[in-house]
Symmetry: C2
Subunit: 106 residues, 2 copies
DNA sequence: TTTACATGCAGTTAAATGCCTGCATATTAT
DNA sequence: ATAATATGCAGGCATTTAACTGCATGTAAA
């Protein structure tokens, strides 16, 4: 898993919206997804390509259509390997911050 | 919380490294952080500004120094409000993907 | 086979990004 | 007061990004 690609892919609101749409109904075609987006089909294709390069989306061709499916694994791995590190220290980090903001750190 | 700012801020590897450094030792000065980065102080300042705008980092002035502290709250909120949505459906999404890749979706 | 539909691909462009240099300001130490 | 240190701020520049237009290809339906 390329954590950098995943984070970059998630950094754009249009791409997060695409994931949201697929979360509502998995397996949508490019055209279906475009109906809910305020951009051209070509732009959406680029975003989906970035999501696919990050393995967040996988595609299957069905005739002249292309179906898009969420792959939740990279998101889960990013959470496990990165977010949880901060989560584990969450309370102590909050404590650092609070005491410093209160001026007790002098 | 501005989820967009948080995701954008996390989209850059240098900024994730800054958070990593602060996770190792909270409350570091700009100069200390720069010792571990391969960029000028001014660039680091910009990155820290973006992290601060996303409320991922809070700062406290101490004399001529500026101390940087992680604020874990936005990260936690992003996880709660966004990542968990996918996490909840993780197994069913994986099932969709698997059956489609196997060609059972016809 | 002709027409309509769904997607692919190339090239352009405006804006955003990330990095830099140079100088200014503020604080501490001598 | 002077020098050294830590950070702030402004501007420039190359690259990347995200959007578009226009045309090509492949598939399904009439």
């Amino acid at each position: 898993m390329d954590a950098d690609k995943v984070f970059r892919a998630l950094g754009d609101p249009s791409r997060r919206k695409l994931l949201d749409l697929l979360c509502e109904r998995n397996g949508q075609t490019l055209g279906e997804l475009c109906n809910h987006l305020d951009m051209t089909r070509q732009s959406a294709t680029q975003h989906l390509g970035i999501l696919e390069a990050a393995s967040l989306v996988s595609t299957v061709r069905r005739g002249r259509e292309k179906l898009h499916f969420i792959n939740p694994v990279p998101l889960h791995e990013v959470y496990e390997r990165w977010v949880r590190k901060f989560e584990r220290q969450r309370l102590s980090l909050l404590h650092d911050l609070k005491t410093e903001l209160e001026g007790d750190g002098q």
